[in-house]
């Protein structure tokens, strides 16, 4: 009996050590490692793309080693002169060839300070003014795919939509939104208790995009002044998207009706059975829309054609020489993949971008120049709208090839008659 207790005690002591055994990154001998610091909304893209770059032989395999962090914190690291490295002891995630992007990435611990090869912000860089230094010489920032942001409630909630005005009061006034249940038969909204409002930290693109979206009128007229700031955005500010998922889904009983959270749309897309996405009606809009053409669709149609207004471009950052050439070829190569430039047949980056719920610029019909700013028509010179639709199962475009030219438009390399 004593021996058994002793063995159990030893096992109890040994178990945490075995669990905590994370290898050092240098011990893993990565093939052509590339170190990235990204927003956590971009993790699915990096996991999906990294599984392909690690397996590619042309030009060569590249291992993506990444950490997630707030967009503005990332910009601070890469825009500081000299750039801040990732410090020794940081836990990094890495992507193996063929890795299932639905699973968590394996991790390692940096055993030396390591320069960031690719930085990322999932919002307009100007939105981090005051938090991050200005972009210095020697650093290139290129606009990548479009990221949608959304509001979610527990799947058991009866709520289906929210207007911008309503959201202004929910996040700006919290418990003091003016609703008096004793005198109003129709509630302002169920979201009038900040204990059940789950947001993100002030460095995070998810929060900042909503802050700017609710500060703009959104239309063509000069409107309300920008009154929202992260500090005035009420609720429990959480570090990671997964924390929001955990808190929103962790609420029970009637409190679920009072619960709301901020997420990147792709995070919602990964959790549709436990969360419900709210349709959103921006200022000056007449109806509320989902990012997709309907709840449960995966086509991002309303985002692409301008009916869903809560989105921001992602930016991808690398170091460049004085002549503008990249200082690290592999970093430039991977950024070009993220920008949707197919550089070799082994990796079709547009497929990866679409599969994780991002929208390549070539599939967009609208654009904007500032966070939460008005929309304008977008007509890129090289389009992939038909190809995008074909990947999400909604294309009605004509197909083409060398012997069957397009009646109108141009035949894209993917075999669709695109307008341009």
């Amino acid at each position: 009996m004593h021996k058994l207790l002793l063995l159990l005690a030893l096992a109890a002591v040994a178990a945490p050590r075995a669990q905590a055994a994370v290898p050092t990154c240098s011990s893993l001998s990565f093939v052509n490692p590339l170190y990235l610091e990204i927003g956590d909304t971009q993790e699915q893209l990096i996991k999906t793309l990294g599984a392909h770059t690690a397996a590619a032989t042309t030009p060569h395999a590249i291992t993506l080693v990444y950490r997630t962090n707030g967009s503005c914190a990332n910009l601070t690291d890469v825009f500081t002169v000299p750039p801040k490295p990732i410090v020794s002891g940081t836990t990094m995630s890495y992507v193996l060839a063929g890795q299932n992007p639905a699973l968590a990435s394996p991790t390692c611990t940096l055993d030396a300070a390591t320069p960031i090869d690719v930085g990322n912000a999932a919002l307009f860089i100007s939105s981090c003014a005051g938090q991050a230094p200005a972009q210095p010489a020697g650093v290139s920032a290129q606009q990548g795919p479009i990221q949608a942001y959304t509001l979610v409630v527990p799947n058991a909630s009866s709520q289906t939509a929210i207007t911008a005005e309503e959201a202004y009061f929910v996040f700006g006034f919290g418990n003091n939104d003016g609703f008096n249940s004793a005198t109003n038969s129709t509630p302002l909204s169920p979201w009038n208790d900040t204990a059940f409002i789950f947001t993100r930290l002030s460095t995070k693109s998810t929060l900042l995009t909503w802050v700017h979206t609710l500060s703009q009128r959104g239309g063509d007229v000069a409107g309300d002044p920008r009154t929202f700031t992260p500090a005035k955005f009420l609720g429990t500010a959480l570090n990671a998207s997964s924390d929001v998922v955990g808190h929103v889904t962790g609420v029970t009983g009637s409190d679920r009706e009072r619960t709301i959270g901020l997420l990147g749309a792709e995070v919602y897309d990964s959790n549709p059975t436990v969360l419900r996405e709210l349709a959103f009606q921006w200022f000056d809009q007449k109806h509320a829309y989902f990012p997709d053409s309907a709840l449960g669709a995966k086509d991002k149609r309303n985002l692409r054609d301008g009916h869903y207004a809560v989105w921001s471009p992602t930016f991808w950052i690398e170091n460049v020489n004085t002549d503008g050439s990249p200082t690290k070829t592999d970093a430039d190569y991977v950024i070009n993949l993220i920008l949707g430039k197919q550089q070799q047949l082994q990796v079709n980056p547009v497929d990866d971008i679409i599969s994780v719920g991002l929208v390549p610029s070539c599939a967009m019909q609208v654009n904007r120049s500032v966070e939460g700013g008005p929309l304008s028509l977008f007509d890129p010179t090289s389009q992939c709208r038909c190809y995008y639709d074909s990947k999400v199962g909604t294309s009605s475009c004509a197909t083409c090839n060398a012997s069957t030219p397009c009646a109108t438009g141009v035949c894209s390399p993917d075999g669709f008659c695109e307008a341009k």
Binding site: G178, P187, G219, Y289, D305, H307, S376, L377
Partner: protein
């Protein structure tokens, strides 16, 4: 059909000298969110080539050009109507300053 309607109203707009006006047209179907009878979805690629924007009787826009028109362009995508009670909204419909 769409181009015919757009073309007629583009001519009407020019004839009236109202290049900045937004003519109102009653779509064939007359149902909200189906203001483009032919395709059901606005096509940004047509903008500017077939004429100016047209607001349908349902209130949506064909050939949307500006941000507000784009937000309210005709579509057959699913939408939800919501009119929440907002006790703190100002009498002119404006938002009060944040506390």
């Amino acid at each position: 059909m769409k181009k015919t309607i757009i073309g007629l109203f583009a001519l009407l707009a020019v004839a009236c000298g109202g290049t900045n006006s937004t003519p109102v047209v009653t779509p064939d179907s007359g149902t909200p969110d189906s203001g483009i009878p032919d395709s059901g979805t606005p096509d940004a690629g047509d903008a500017g080539s077939d004429g100016g924007p047209i607001q349908t009787a349902a209130g949506c826009f064909i050939n949307a050009q500006t941000s507000i028109q784009i937000l309210n362009a005709c579509t057959d995508a699913g939408s939800i109507d919501k009119a929440p009670v907002l006790p703190l909204l100002q009498s002119d419909g404006g938002l009060p300053p944040l506390p």
